[in-house]
């Protein structure tokens, strides 16, 4: 330890401060000193998806996923179906983007069979898992029913989905990626599509939120916080200002 800490002088501080602009000019990392940085329009608002066309799915895959989400969330008096609410479009856009590529995850090898407590250990990102899983699903239904999944009756589709959910059906996937895991991935993404903000392509007209009474992107409930057992009176709003 030298003496610099013992005698921190005004000259010392000024000398250090004077050195800062030089450092800032030579460093590639962002260097901030002397102010609280702010710049206009620096936020990163989400971009609403364009609902037309398919970005990731092939026509057969798209029809298969539409058939699946139609059964996971069937139409009734509570809400339109998962397909009508845009869940398949939602999943398509998610798979075409960062989620589908697992771009934020740890994807270095070696890939080994893990224990249930260690989570997914396969080498396929979600996009690859859908591609493989949908193909295997249609192979299974063609073997069993001589038809693609989308051509089955609603009862048969439910039978296949329940078999996947209950691990009674084994699709031809690959080690480290089970049929149950494929089902859980599709179910999770379908629910995301039904309940996420409509800007992502699902939850059309905020149908998922209306079904349960979730007010969406409202941000201030001070007028209702301490009301006892009183339903919240207002309908939902979305991030881009849709009101329902």
């Amino acid at each position: 330890m030298d003496n610099s800490l013992r005698g921190v002088t005004r000259r010392h501080l000024l000398a250090s401060a004077a050195a800062l602009p030089i450092l800032a000019a030579t460093a590639d990392g962002r260097t901030i000193s002397g102010n609280l940085p702010w710049s206009p329009f620096a936020g990163a608002p989400p971009r609403p998806v364009n609902p037309l066309g398919w970005y990731f799915f092939t026509p057969v895959e798209a029809a298969t996923v539409e058939a699946i989400v139609e059964r996971l969330i069937p139409a009734d008096q509570l809400s339109p179906s998962g397909k009508e609410c845009g869940c398949a479009i939602f999943i398509d856009r998610q798979l075409a983007g960062a989620f589908g590529q697992a771009s934020r995850l740890y994807t270095k090898g070696p890939f080994r069979q893990g224990l249930p407590t260690q989570g997914y250990q396969g080498d396929l990102a979600p996009a690859g898992r859908y591609r493989l899983g949908l193909q295997a699903l249609n192979e299974y239904t063609n073997t069993t029913y001589k038809k693609d999944f989308r051509a089955l009756s609603a009862e048969q589709q439910d039978e296949v989905l329940a078999g996947m959910d209950g691990s009674k059906i084994k699709l031809n996937l690959k080690p480290g990626f089970s049929t149950k895991e494929f089902f859980e991935l599709v179910l999770q993404n379908t629910m995301e599509g039904f309940f996420a903000d409509p800007l992502y392509g699902g939850n059309k007209n905020m149908a998922g939120w209306k079904m349960i009474g979730f007010p969406g992107a409202r941000y201030d409930y001070r007028d209702h916080i301490d009301k006892r057992n009183v339903p919240y009176p207002r309908g939902p709003v979305s991030i881009y200002g849709m009101e329902g």
């Binding site: 610099s4 501080l13 590639d28 989400p46 059964r71 934020r104 407590t117 260690q118 179910l187 201030d220």
Partner: protein, 587 residues
């Protein structure tokens, strides 16, 4: 070759809660400080925008504000007989990223650990005898309650914590927590207004003879100006708190309480997108001379400094010490070595109640909004006839009704299809819950070290977590589940479900971002990595600040104690170390 930058008085690794507190206090004392932050600059107006922060998919599900495993992952296993594999996504816990760190997306629960926590071994041994804690590596923290109380006070006033004191200088206060250790004064702000579920919980607990109180919250109950002159807003109960940043300036974070003052100081500099690779020691290994870091373009720099403060997340602090060879790796076989020792977590259970005729409006919530009973907390109740030590706070918090993750149904309901829809509609408004957040006590076989196989993007070994719930803690948690059963009775709910903890910690479902230990404080350099001032026993110009210093974890959220330890360490540096650099406690 690394480019060598001009020497600083102090370099701080990580600008989250602890880094910001140290930077503020050290610059106030006249030191010339640089902070190196791996992630980006983030501030409320630009990055926590009130127009689109309420986006469950982006922030809660896709984890936009969290550390990416592609940047730093960890491996895990339940015991040394298993092969650790990488958590390819974070699940059980979610470390933070960028300026503000995990303090951006925390809930705001601001607890003080108890006097009996800081001297836990002495306390339990005196009360029950040494045999009671055999098999547990419980040890005193080195600092005492009387020494550190003012640091808790300092942190609460910076945060604007809203609550009700239960014990002011030994005088029990009605409406507060009668079990808390004596505090010097009340919280800076009154408690938040309470939602229906929490109010109902408090009524029932009072009927049962327990002692409910509003849990201490750094979601502010009113507008407030903190001691640094920074203005904060009133919480609006938006229901987008944990996993989100606050768009209202009403949740305490480095951004809302310290940075507006710190960033304007001429003797402070922040470098963002700058990842510290290691602390460089002198050839004899007895002093730190600099840190090596990479900027966003991969250019390597060396930053010399007289003091190095390691202020990353608890787990990253431990990894930084191991990568820098500060101290000796703990060995669970021999019990020797200190870095990686006493890794602890949190041991929880929960109750869910469903009714026919209630409107709980679960979406009207805040991260730290609710009522708690501490009647089964820590050693606040007699353990002499029980087969465990430790305890849990039992809280009814209402944090959110975000529907992708939070739509409870009656147990056994279908998870898709028409019947799922009806069950979801029935459950969403009619459901409330409360849970026990239990202590986690250290055992020899739970520890942290470097993984032998998996590496990060720079080729450095990942941290390896070897952890399972110790038998003592499982017994504690099962006892809490039995209490939860009793506590649910007076509600006369239509359905009641109480969870019981299973052995075999699962890294996938979210549990708690309360990882503690690994670089613990203590009185003995053979059983602790840092002394009572969070100063490395081995390299005295290195201070390691955060929950890494916890010698065990209590049944409370850790951030209040983390903040207090940061003020405590900063005070030691500015009032003791600067005047006489060297070991503050003789080894």
């Amino acid at each position: 070759m690394a480019r060598v930058l001009p020497k600083r008085d102090a370099v701080i690794i990580g600008l989250g809660w602890t880094g910001s507190i140290l930077a503020q206090q050290l610059t106030d004392a006249g030191l010339n400080v640089v902070a190196l932050e791996r992630g980006p600059w983030r501030d409320t107006a630009t990055d926590f925008n009130i127009a689109y922060m309420q986006d469950e998919l982006r922030y809660a599900i896709r984890k936009d504000l969290f550390l990416k495993p592609s940047v730093e992952a960890m491996t895990m296993r339940n015991n040394a007989g298993q092969t650790a594999l990488p958590m390819r996504d974070y699940g059980s816990f979610l470390p933070g990223d960028g300026v503000g760190g995990a303090g951006v997306h925390w809930n705001g629960q601001t607890w003080r650990f108890w006097d009996s926590d800081f001297s836990i071994k002495t306390h339990l041994t005196q009360r029950y005898g040494a045999a009671k804690i055999r098999g547990l590596q419980l040890q005193d923290w080195g600092v005492t309650w009387d020494e550190i109380e003012h640091s808790f006070d300092q942190y609460e006033y910076i945060c604007g914590t809203s609550g009700k004191a239960g014990n002011i200088k030994g005088q029990i206060q009605p409406g507060g927590n009668p079990f808390e250790s004596p505090r010097s004064r009340d919280y800076p702000n009154p408690p938040l207004r309470m939602p229906y579920a929490s109010t109902l919980f408090a009524e029932k607990m009072r009927e049962l003879g327990h002692h409910p109180f509003p849990l201490p919250s750094s979601n502010l109950s009113r507008a407030y100006v903190n001691p640094l002159g920074i203005r904060m807003g009133e919480c609006t109960f938006c229901g987008f708190c944990e996993r989100f940043a606050c768009g209202n300036y009403s949740k305490a974070s480095a951004q809302t309480t310290i940075l507006p003052v710190l960033m304007k100081k001429p003797n402070f500099e922040l470098r963002t997108d700058s990842e510290v690779l290691k602390v460089n020691l002198t050839p004899d290994g007895k002093m730190a001379r600099s840190v090596t870091f990479l900027d966003a373009q991969g250019v390597e720099y060396e930053q010399p400094a007289d003091v190095v403060a390691v202020c990353a997340y608890a787990l990253m602090n431990v990894r930084m010490m191991l990568l820098s060879k500060i101290g000796t790796q703990y060995d669970p076989v021999t019990g020797k070595g200190t870095v990686g020792r006493n890794y602890c977590y949190q041991t929880s259970a929960g109750a869910r109640l469903m009714f026919d005729d209630k409107h709980f409006n679960p979406f009207i919530g805040a991260g730290a909004l609710g009522q708690t009973i501490d009647d089964f907390q820590g050693d606040g109740f007699d353990h002499s006839k029980l087969d465990f030590v430790g305890g849990a706070g039992i809280s009814c918090t209402v944090s959110n009704g975000r529907p992708i993750s939070n739509r409870p149904t009656v147990p056994g309901s279908p998870r898709w299809g028409a019947k799922w829809k009806q069950a979801t509609v029935d459950g969403y408004q009619n459901s409330m819950g409360f849970g026990s957040q239990g202590s986690s006590y250290p055992v020899r076989e739970n520890y942290l070290d470097l993984d032998p196989t998996y590496t990060d993007r720079h080729g450095r070994p990942l941290l390896r977590i070897t952890f399972d719930f110790p038998d003592n803690d499982v017994r504690m948690s099962h006892y809490m589940s039995e209490q939860l059963e009793k506590l649910t009775k007076p509600f006369n709910a239509k359905y009641t479900a109480v969870a019981r903890l299973q052995k075999g910690w699962n890294s996938v479902p979210y549990q708690s971002t309360h990882n503690t230990g690994g670089a613990i404080m203590g009185t003995d350099p053979t059983t602790s990595a840092v002394n009572k001032y969070l100063q490395s026993w081995d390299v005295p110009n290195v201070f390691v600040v955060g929950a890494s210093a916890f010698a065990h974890n209590a049944g409370m959220n850790p951030t209040g104690t983390v903040g207090a330890l940061a003020y405590w360490a900063a005070e030691a540096i500015t009032t003791k170390y600067i005047k006489s650099p060297g070991a503050l406690v003789p080894a």
